[in-house]
């Protein structure tokens, strides 16, 4: 793996993660991360759109006039979202119904247009594609993490409703972590998403701080002071 790919991986998954660093695409992130399966479904959909749009934007980057690039990116993204929506409608109808409005809303996911504008429109196709993949994966990971947390806290289960995404065989995947009659509704409700996201971001910052403290290297450099004044009078 070359340096660029390594850097892109790091950027997408950690350093510049769209969900917890750039805080983009919060609307679907907060809304559909109630369970792991919902989160995974939306995450995959977003990743696919991101991949497609990054490739396309990168392909056309040299022929798009600067002034109207944003409308064009939006059209590209909208087309891919429509494709994904139709695919989900066809193959994972249950999930399609659960996610509802949030699939079309991927069009307005700032993470996607953000990558198109910030990266894909300036780099070659292979890098843009890889960037899209990594950013999408980073986004999906956070979604799944948040979904898992909320699902465990709120329902006491994991992977409930897996059949919606993977077909009927997957209904056995559901894990019951604990049984309760007093569900912690707050975790399932939107405030739970905000709180959960806050804690994930806090955890990330703590880890970063620890890493930084460990790898504190002192690079000494010497700077030559400029003589402001000439004396060649």
């Amino acid at each position: 793996m070359t340096n660029e790919y390594k850097e892109l991986t790091l950027q997408g998954l950690w350093k510049n993660n769209p969900a917890i660093v750039q805080l983009l695409g919060l609307c679907p992130l907060l809304a559909v991360s109630g369970t792991v399966v919902n989160a995974l479904g939306l995450g995959i959909a977003t990743t696919l759109v991101l991949l497609g749009s990054n490739i396309t934007v990168s392909l056309v980057r040299n022929i798009v006039p600067n002034e109207i690039r944003i409308p064009i990116f939006v059209m590209v993204i909208a087309s891919f979202v429509t494709v994904i929506e139709l695919l989900m409608h066809a193959f994972t109808f249950g999930l399609y119904q659960v996610l509802g409005i949030f699939i079309p809303l991927i069009v307005t996911n700032c993470a996607i247009i953000g990558r198109a504008e910030a990266y894909a429109s300036k780099h070659s196709v292979k890098f843009a594609a890889y960037d899209g993949l990594m950013m999408g994966t980073g986004f999906t990971l956070i979604l799944v993490l948040l979904g898992a947390t909320r699902e465990i806290l709120g329902l006491g289960t994991l992977f409930s409703g897996a059949e919606l995404l993977l077909g009927n065989w997957a209904s056995d995947l559901t894990i019951v972590v604990y049984q309760t009659d007093a569900n912690f509704l707050l975790a399932i409700l939107p405030p739970g998403a905000f709180l959960g996201l806050g804690f994930i971001i806090a955890a990330k910052n703590i880890i970063d701080q620890v890493i930084k403290d460990r790898t504190q290297v002192k690079d000494k450099k010497v700077v030559q002071r400029a003589r402001v004044t000439g004396t060649d009078i």
């Binding site: 007093a182 569900n183 912690f184 509704l185 707050l186 409700l189 405030p191 709180l195």
Partner: protein, 370 residues
């Protein structure tokens, strides 16, 4: 070696520190708590003890983690007060973990995560209450009837047993305890009216119930009045200003008056709204929490009035019977905005330098306009 004391003026200080202020609020709540205990049983005291212990322990642990001065923070009694306010708001026989989770949430998340005393955006007790109410609606609405109406005599041992196991020592569940003398299941007055209205009854029919005594909820109205006394003491002692309680109560009464004039049969009277539920305790003890309330006097009036407005709106059209917590938390959000637009005019800024020799008529009329 005694050190030379150099300091900025003033060298004189009022002797009432934060701890004293908070203590006064706690003392002022005592009559209310006493009446509440008398009316609703020992559960109130048990919840109070649980809440206070949880609050102080949480505060200490988090302050230790944050490497802050623990001792002084505990001595300011703010955690204790927060636990107290939460404890008096929840049903006396709610399971123990309700109050523990609620208090922990109030202190750890709502107060300390925002930076501790003075930095919290929301009223910790009310944010904790909201969290509990939306997370555990069943447990949070399981109010017992006032002691005078119950068939079961719940003693102190029964109370503790119920709070920790869900059943009295003799094996009754909360649902059984909720039954009144005439066998009807009991709810709070506000709940009762809400249910009655949803079942198509009109207000006067709803009031025609054992739990009401001249439209005052048995047990509820005395508690309100006891808190009112404490609140007036607080105003007298200048711990709180009159602005928030006054504007809040007046606004709530005004809104409900308008509504009940509009339609007597489906909207309860202002008097009903005042004495049933937590309007008074909210106005004097909860909305006046200095940290999360507005900080200017004009702002306090706006803040209180809007809380009063929301209380009636939520009680009338909302999904929950009582609304203090929602209204307070909602208005906490608006505080920075209110503060910004209610800055008092600084001395000397109304009139910039004028010419005294000939006060021009234009300027005079301008003043008149002001």
């Amino acid at each position: 070696m005694t050190k030379l004391q150099v300091a900025s003026s003033p060298h004189h200080h009022n002797q009432r520190d934060t701890g004293a202020v908070m203590r006064l609020v706690v003392y002022a709540a005592i009559p209310g708590i006493a009446v509440q205990t008398y009316m609703f049983g020992y559960g109130v005291l048990v919840q109070l003890a649980l809440a206070v212990v949880t609050a102080v322990v949480t505060e200490v642990v988090i302050l230790e983690i944050r490497k802050k001065n623990t001792e002084r923070a505990v001595k300011d009694y703010s955690a204790l007060l927060c636990g107290l306010l939460l404890a008096i708001s929840i049903p006396p026989l709610a399971p123990w973990w309700i109050i523990v989770i609620g208090t922990f949430f109030s202190i750890a998340i709502v107060k300390q995560l925002y930076g501790g005393l003075g930095f919290n955006l929301f009223n910790p007790a009310m944010a904790g209450y909201v969290m509990l109410l939306i997370s555990f609606p069943v447990q949070m609405t399981a109010w017992l009837p006032p002691v005078s109406l119950t068939i079961q005599n719940v003693g102190i041992w029964d109370t503790i047993h119920t709070i920790f196991t869900g059943y009295t020592a003799t094996g009754f569940s909360i649902a059984q305890l909720q039954a009144t003398v005439d066998g009807a299941t009991m709810a709070t007055p506000l709940d009762h009216i809400k249910t009655a209205l949803s079942e198509g009854y009109i207000i006067s029919e709803g009031l025609n119930n054992k739990i009401f005594n001249a439209s005052m909820g048995v047990g509820w109205a005395p508690v309100s009045f006891a808190y009112l006394i404490g609140g007036l003491v607080l105003i007298k002692a200048k711990v709180i200003n009159w602005h928030i309680p006054a504007s809040m109560i007046i606004a709530a009464m005004a809104v409900s008056a308008v509504l009940s004039i509009y339609d007597m049969s489906t909207h309860a009277s202002p008097w009903f709204h005042l004495v049933n539920g937590s309007l008074i305790v909210g106005a004097f003890f909860i909305a006046t929490d200095p940290v999360s309330a507005s900080t200017t006097n004009r702002g306090r009036i706006v803040f209180g009035a809007l809380i009063g407005f929301w209380i009636i709106v939520i009680r009338t059209w909302g999904g929950y019977p009582d609304a203090i917590a929602f209204a307070v938390v909602l208005m906490n959000l608006a505080v920075p905005l209110i503060d910004y637009y209610t800055k008092p005019g600084t001395y000397g800024h109304q009139n910039k330098v004028r010419n005294m020799a000939k006060p021009s008529p234009a300027k005079k009329s301008q003043q008149g306009d002001k």
